[in-house]
Symmetry: C2
Subunit: 84 residues, 2 copies
Amino acid sequence: AGNPQAGEEKSAACRACHGANGKATAAVYPDLAGQKEGYLLQALLAYKNGGRSGGQAEVMKAFVAGLSDEDMANLAAYYASLKP
Amino acid sequence: AGNPQAGEEKSAACRACHGANGKATAAVYPDLAGQKEGYLLQALLAYKNGGRSGGQAEVMKAFVAGLSDEDMANLAAYYASLKP
């Protein structure tokens, strides 16, 4: 599993849409707080390898392009650790 | 917005993966309880029109094939209404 503290440090860019507490800023973006860690990581990896489309996939691909696998594991752990 | 009661009546098929209370039965399926209604509806519509891939998209496409737009609106309202 990832490291939530390290994930928090990487989450600045996510907050515009996913909120400072993992509750999305608009109804068309998903809440991430308390979501399943495995699902979050799977989604990030799918955006990175082009295996996920739909919604804001193009925006997400730009954000994950600069993230390492470890960053993504830490981000998944961070958002899963937040209270839904 | 959709009708949560009507959505609950349509949710039997969803429970195997998304749980009886909207908390997924495995870490690779997303929790739906308390998720944004707009996001849920957008995801269902995207599965229906083929605009979303990744994860269990093929399975989801099979499930939504039999749903009307009203069913999908009601399901989105139902899951959004559950406590996360």
